[in-house]
């Protein structure tokens, strides 16, 4: 048994909290059995091996002495993986930095801050490593099964990449903190995390093109003599991670050693003052606003809409989440555009992407406005009928959606008014559908729990996504003049009907109000 306040003791405490946090996330705060969540996870993990087989099985027979092009391609994959993990790690570090949690307790305890925050940085790296293992497992499993045990080295590289990502995330976030100050860092770090994460998705797109090749594709570019001539030789340290993945044990030892050294350096450099930064972040001097034009109220509904818009605009987590949502949809759009040759086909893809984004974004905004109402008693005791409150909130969501997607729709309209009309109608229907799902499944929650909104109802989450995709397909097919649009629309309506029958409340009512 470890001594109290020792490094091992602190690490056990951190990991226990992380485990309980994860368990709570998986079981929706113990409302569902853990065994069921584990079964679903296992099913998903096994299912992922099929696409993984299709993607990587053919590379399993690459020998222990790969050429430069192969090393370059695999290095790109490692880099993309690093960007994904870095995004997650930055998000995690920012969240830790800006939440008070047990900060007062630990900072007032006799434990040296350097020791405590070293443990926290290390614990975060362990969690990132577990995530990295889970994400890479289907691909590495396939390579091991097809190509032999030498591919097991891939797991070592996955862990090393996660450790480096955790260390770089701490360094980057603290660097931003010093450069921009606590107030700006929160938003900038969140946005940066979203952009870095999207870089991974965009990168996957490039890899997909590389894998499938084709005239003018990136495969041809990567294999071109011009590029190969500028790449370092196969023995360069630059290719260490790639060589490690291919099963070079010496390279693997070097990669893991570099990763651990990076983490140790970051712990030594930043842990002693991380507590002070965190205190500075949570004790921010409140933002001041100019007092002007606040009492321009015209009706209670107007007041409600204005309040919702103010809160949406001032939500840093929402800004980054929205940006992530938009950025993650760019690669699929690019991929689809790449596969469509005609201009009309491209516009159909644009219609589909816009409708999908519209539906998903409306769902997120509706959760904030409807379930994330921080003063439900105030709204419920105000002299408004419930339907008026709901209508005002829906109007606020649709208005915010119009601000985000309106400019894109205008651009589409300039190119093709015909397709813009389908996109606008599709966005409106998809948005109203996901808002309706939020109304059926609403559950009072703190606005700050936005990141965990999916845990309150998996059915609502899936229904939102499937409805958006179905309406996107319907709008795209309709724009392409296909009669199959009707079938897709029927599917969307069936999903809505299913969501309604599974929802805890099937009728519209005001949030919290009873009369």
């Amino acid at each position: 048994m470890s001594a109290p306040a020792s490094i091992i003791w602190l690490a056990r405490q951190e990991l226990r909290l992380a485990w309980r946090d994860w368990r709570s996330l998986m079981t929706a705060s113990e409302r569902r059995p853990l065994s069921r969540a584990l079964l679903v996870l296992a099913f998903v993990a096994v299912s992922l091996h099929l696409p993984a087989y299709a993607m990587v099985a053919r590379f399993a027979d690459v020998g222990l002495a790969p050429d430069v092009t192969q090393l370059f391609s695999l290095s790109l994959v490692v880099l993309l993986y690093l960007s994904l993990l870095l995004s997650q790690a930055m998000e995690s570090v920012t969240r830790t930095l800006y939440s008070r949690g047990d900060l007062d307790l630990v900072m007032s305890s006799p434990v040296a801050p350097a020791r405590l925050f070293s443990v926290r940085i290390a614990a975060n790296a362990v969690l990132m490593a577990i995530m990295a293992l889970v994400l890479s497992s289907p691909f590495i499993d396939v390579l091991v099964l097809v190509g032999g045990p030498r591919w097991l080295a891939g797991f070592g590289v996955a862990v090393a990449v996660a450790v480096v990502a955790s260390a770089v995330a701490v360094a980057l976030t603290v660097g931003l903190f010093r450069l921009l100050g606590p107030r700006r860092t929160r938003l900038v770090a969140q946005v940066l995390a979203a952009v870095i994460g999207a870089a991974f998705a965009i990168g996957i797109q490039i890899v997909a093109i590389v894998n499938y090749g084709g005239p003018g594709g990136a495969a041809a570019l990567l294999a071109s003599p011009t590029l190969t001539a500028h790449l370092p030789a196969a023995g360069s340290p630059l290719w260490l991670p790639a060589r490690a993945v291919f099963g070079d044990l010496a390279a693997l030892v070097a990669v893991v050693a570099i990763a651990l050294a990076t983490l140790a350096a970051v712990m030594a450099a930043f842990a002693p003052r991380l507590g002070e930064y965190s205190l500075a972040a949570v004790d921010l001097i409140p933002t001041r606003h100019r007092h002007q034009r606040r009492f321009r109220i015209q009706s209670p509904r107007w007041a409600m809409r204005r309040k919702e818009w103010l809160l949406l605009r001032r939500d840093p987590w929402l800004v980054s989440q929205t940006l992530t949502q938009l950025l993650y949809l760019v690669p699929p759009a690019l991929l689809l555009l790449h596969n469509f040759n005609g201009a009309s086909g491209s516009m159909v893809v644009v219609v589909m992407v816009l409708v999908t984004v519209g539906g998903q974004l409306a769902g997120a905004l509706a959760w904030l406005a409807i379930s994330g109402e921080d003063a439900p008693d105030l709204v419920a005791t105000a002299p408004l009928v419930g339907a008026a409150v709901v209508r005002a909130k829906v109007e606020a969501v649709m208005g915010a959606l119009a601000v985000v997607l309106g400019p894109l729709l205008v651009i589409v309209a300039v190119i093709s008014p015909y397709h813009a009309a389908f996109a606008a109608v599709g966005v409106a229907i998809a948005a109203l559908s996901t808002i309706q799902i939020q109304l059926w499944f609403r559950a009072q929650a703190r606005r700050s729990h936005f990141r965990r909104r999916h845990t309150s109802s998996r059915i609502a989450t899936f229904a939102e996504a499937l409805t958006s995709f179905s309406w996107a397909a319907a709008a795209g097919l309709a724009a392409a003049g296909s009669g199959l649009a009707a079938a897709s629309a029927v599917i969307a309506l069936l999903i809505l009907a299913g969501a309604r029958s599974a929802s805890p409340r099937k009728a519209l009512a005001s949030p919290g109000a009873v009369m």
Partner: protein, 261 residues
């Protein structure tokens, strides 16, 4: 001293002898009866304290009055308005302050008050004037344009109270409004409430701080197991309990008698 925003006061209610609140047979059950056929009348222009042990049904009663819970049976009348038949009209006359101040972290106090004034349909100029007066009166002027996210509990409670007053309600209902407040802030809140009553408003408040009820309330109601077991001035309650002393002594005797009955 008159509190801000009390231009159109309620002397007419006093003159007309219209009760601020009348409950008849109010009933609500969850797993067991929480409020049991409760009859209660609060006169307009009085400070009424509702006392009772934990689980007596105080909060449930008040939440039904302000429209946050639907009663299983009974009638609620607010200044002559049937609150179950005309909820919007009744809500227009009332304000609710809960023990946990619910405000928006990302709004400033002035923005919050503008929102509340808007919900109650207050004319903008009057709303802004009342808001500024309340902000000043509650000592929030230095923070009027700061977001509420960094505010202490006391400051949040002041903002919530200002929100309850900005639309000049004729009936203010407060559930444990002094919980967790420091002495200075509690004093300010008490001053605000007494000023409202002095100006003709009606205040109904639950509290576990019996000295506050003893000192501020004109009449006190004691709830136990969802029923009103005693009501009156402190002197009347003392007589009923058959003992003198502090309200604490009287309260404990009444509750013990009520439990034994």
């Amino acid at each position: 001293m008159a509190s801000p925003g009390t231009e159109h006061r309620l002397d007419m209610d006093r003159a007309g002898d219209l009760p601020a609140l009348r409950l008849r047979g109010l009933t609500k059950s969850f797993d067991r009866p929480a409020v049991d056929a409760l009859d209660l009348t609060v006169r307009a222009g009085e400070f009424y304290a509702l006392l009772g042990p934990n689980g007596a049904g105080k909060t449930t009663t008040l939440r039904m009055v302000v429209g946050l819970l639907r009663p299983d049976a009974g009638a609620i009348e607010v200044l002559g308005v049937d609150a179950l038949a005309e909820p919007v009209a009744a809500k227009r006359l009332m304000a609710w302050v809960s023990d946990e101040p619910m405000i928006y972290e990302k709004l400033t106090p002035l923005e919050y008050l503008a929102f509340v004034a808007g919900l109650w349909g207050i004319e903008p100029a009057a709303g802004e004037r009342a808001a500024l007066e309340l902000i000043d009166w509650l000592g929030l002027a230095a923070h009027a344009n700061e977001r509420c996210e960094g505010f202490s509990r006391g400051m949040r409670q002041k903002v919530a109270l200002a929100g309850a007053l900005v639309h000049d309600p004729r009936l203010i209902i407060l559930d444990e409004p002094l919980t967790g407040l420091d002495a200075g802030t509690a004093r300010q809140v008490k001053d605000v409430l007494q000023a409202r009553v002095a100006a003709g408003g009606t205040v109904i408040m639950t509290t576990h701080i019996l000295e506050v009820a003893e000192r501020m309330a004109e009449r006190i109601g004691v709830l136990s197991r969802g029923r009103l077991i005693a009501e009156g001035t402190l002197a009347e309650l003392s007589l009923r309990a058959g003992r003198g002393g502090s309200l604490e002594d009287v309260f404990l005797t009444l509750v013990a008698d009520g439990a034994a009955a």
